[in-house]
Symmetry: C3
Subunit: 170 residues, 3 copies
């Protein structure tokens, strides 16, 4: 029997061995998620689990390509955890529209796309064609808290079943 997206998400959580259950930060000068119409913007996510950034340093120097791919996966999982908390279920995701992947890179590291693949594969494994997104991957000089990767997203959601969400009422 096919698994639901929420089950696939939980499976990915188990495979990674990290918890993404932390409370969504409410308030503050900026917020993790904002909606406008059927579009959801998600703030840049670093590979933080609880209070620890689990992959740090320059990819291609302090961190390997595989470390970078893991970091990208964790960033994407954090974004999905936020979506799930906001929407109730990942079933309300219609399409991942855009993912921007910032990779803290060594001077000669040119495999930013391969790092980003870690996140793209995760999205496809959970959402199938609804997870096929547009993507931009670039190599930056530094990232907050020395994170190896940072990812933000724009997502289209099904609003019909969820009118009245506070976060959609911009």
């Amino acid at each position: 029997m096919d698994m639901s997206r929420d089950e696939l998400f939980q499976n990915a959580v188990s495979e990674l061995g990290y918890s993404f259950d932390g409370e969504m930060r409410i308030g503050g000068n900026y917020v993790p998620i904002v909606g406008n119409g059927n579009e959801i913007y998600i703030s840049g996510q670093i590979p933080r689990v609880g209070n620890t950034v689990v992959v740090t340093g320059r990819v291609g120097q302090d961190a390997s390509l595989d470390d970078g791919r893991l970091a990208a996966k964790i960033c994407a999982m954090r974004a999905l955890a936020l979506l799930r908390q906001s929407l109730g279920s990942l079933d309300r995701v219609k399409k991942i529209l855009r993912m921007t992947v910032y990779v803290q890179s060594a001077s000669d590291f040119t495999q930013q796309s391969e790092v980003a693949d870690g996140a793209s594969e995760l999205l496809y494994s959970i959402f199938s064609s609804a997870g096929q997104h547009t993507r931009t991957s670039v190599g930056v000089f530094q990232l907050p808290k020395n994170a190896s990767v940072e990812i933000d997203m724009i997502v289209a959601v099904d609003t019909a079943s969820g009118s009245g969400d506070a976060w959609l009422a911009v």
Copy 2:
């Protein structure tokens, strides 16, 4: 008595001691603001006042964290000045949807979020909850004119009261 957003904006102008009254550039191959439906895209802003970029160099090396925060604030003020000129009043802003903050960083400078806070605090002080935005902060290698910070935004506006704006008629 509560101050209006436009008054709060003018107060922030006075506190900073810079003028943001310059004409909005019209024409050219690109433009400062474009609208689509109720969304407004704002071009990347550097901390320029008149013809001078007032904060330059790498944050964490040539410029301090406080310099960076000031730079972020000026970038955000420029974006708001453009919005105000286009909309007539900041009262038509429904929600700041997205802010991306690019910080020209020293190799080991990892406080891009703290730099971005300068802009986030400004937005909240003027718009309260409507100013709570999603945010991505990254450390880049260089910026135009050696600026320390560059910021772009996407903003949702109230279109009902302003149908017919040339710049909304895409």
Copy 3:
């Protein structure tokens, strides 16, 4: 007699001397174009022609400003080629909303805007006022495959004449 946008595009192809006829990649974990409502997101494009990245290295060090401008133009042409394949004709473009230009920069290279002008001029030459976009130009540390420039876009299109496009059915 005025040339159509598609003719202007073909002229630009001829002037550059490169072919942009390659098949649009279908499938995979991410895709070149996704639509939502009347907005089209286009994945980050590097100056690749066929299987070759034709401009590589740091602008201001390994590549000249003119090389960078050419790279930006090729990135933009790739984006337009994708749009044209998806839409049938560039006549369905209503407005280029946003272009983000990532320039692999030398440490002291600060002319990212001048590099981006290569792409902005191209857009204006083909779309006139519909091509006047908002823009963000930044200097990054590396790019996929050592490309000198990467560009992504968000574009508003006329959906009335093309309802039923598979790629719009998010």
